[in-house]
Symmetry: C2
Subunit: 218 residues, 2 copies
DNA sequence: AAAATAATTTAGTCTTGCCTAAATTATTAT
DNA sequence: ATAATAATTTAGGCAAGACTAAATTATTTT
């Protein structure tokens, strides 16, 4: 049985290792968990001791197969609870992350699997992220950003990179919701902002926003 | 914000103070929480400091109004989650307590109230215990035990005193479930065991079991 | 009303998880 | 290749929550 802090460190290492194939740095974990590098170092030693990570001094941490499965089981719970909160309790997609951060630590495999069934075995959470299976297996697909599309191309909005409450509310306001089709109409010269077509309306979004929207080409 | 341990102590004091109007003893709390008296003493000082209890050295603890409301809000969450687990996820009534012990500490009033609504504002948990309202108000009704009934009297089974998994499974096996009517037919001389009528079947239960069944007279 | 026993508190430790400041190692710039 | 800078680890502490053993207070027995 892992402690709350151990679980959070594992999760953090998992998420950070998606954007870099070498070891995850002490500082990046500290930054991610709002803690200090020295605290992380101690935790890395402990996780290494438990064979959850490979830790080489001064060269960061990498999840072992066990560590990866363990992290994904926590992420599975997180995402299932997010689905529950949105689908069953009518929370908005920008309100659920904080609560799921707590719920993901509830220990009961039976609970997780019954919840999964109750929700009808969802494949993705409210932010478009895939839900790992009970064994901790996840299919990670390479992600295309809206900013990667060329003029005239159309994509389906399938996920967000930045899932901060602020960005999610920004999308709500512009009626950009998961599953909708977005066509790139034109790119502004001087600030690279994009004119896009959405259903029957057109609007303009910044490159920054565009690079936070995951899409699949149509 | 209270720590997990503080919340558990408050809850324990609340439950223990139902069977005694004077202060709740250090030892009884320690016993209830599977910890040691010395640990409890330290916690009592802290809770007293926070005005959640009145603590007089060597004379135990009593909840203040604030402490009582706080305890009841935790108990509200516990019981709502138990209803959720049984009604929505198809857990058996003997499986939910342990999980609810974890879920009761999730912090989000909004979540609690949305859960309440989702469950259609239940008044009692799966063990027949009343669910406090959002403000921490609860209606405590004096409880009659099956063993208090006279021969020939009938009662409706409305709650369990001992809600241990073992006792709940025992009741399941005998098809004694919440809401059913029980008629006391006869009492055995030599061991006080009771012959009872339940629907169309008769069965015999010990005094010990009978004193663990709460009923309302019909 | 003492004496014996039981309950409770205090004193002193331990572990976990966190911190700051100092030392060490890695990386980058010259 | 060396020097400067940045990242990381180590050393030393602190608070929370637990424990054991010893001291103190309450309760029960004689
Ligand atoms: Mn989330
Ligand atoms: Mn999510
Ligand atoms: Mn319970
Ligand atoms: Mn219950």
């Amino acid at each position: 049985m892992l402690s709350l802090s151990e679980e959070n460190h594992l999760k953090s290492i998992f998420h950070l290792s998606l954007n870099s194939d070498s070891g995850v740095s002490t500082n990046s974990i500290a930054n991610n968990l709002n803690t200090k590098a020295s605290s992380v170092t101690e935790m890395l030693k402990k996780l290494s001791e438990k064979s959850l990570i490979v830790y080489i001094k001064y060269h960061g941490a990498q999840l072992t197969e066990l560590g990866r499965k363990t992290a994904l089981k926590i992420i599975r719970k997180h995402r299932l609870w997010e689905v529950f909160l949105v689908e069953k309790l009518d929370f908005k997609w920008d309100e659920v992350h904080e609560i799921a951060e707590q719920l993901e630590h509830i220990q009961s495999e039976k609970l997780t699997n019954k919840l999964d069934k109750f929700l009808n075995f969802p494949t993705h959470d409210p932010h478009g992220d895939p839900i790992p299976n009970p064994a901790g297996f996840i299919k990670i697909t390479p992600k295309l950003k809206l900013s990667d599309l060329g003029i005239g191309e159309t994509g389906k909005f399938v996920g967000v990179k930045d899932s901060s409450s602020a960005f999610l509310k920004y999308l709500d306001k512009r009626k950009i919701s998961l599953g909708c089709n977005i066509k790139v109409l034109h790119q502004e010269e001087f600030d690279q902002s994009l004119h896009i077509g959405l259903d029957d309306t057109n609007l303009t979004i910044s490159v920054k926003s565009a690079s936070n929207l995951y899409i699949t080409k149509i």
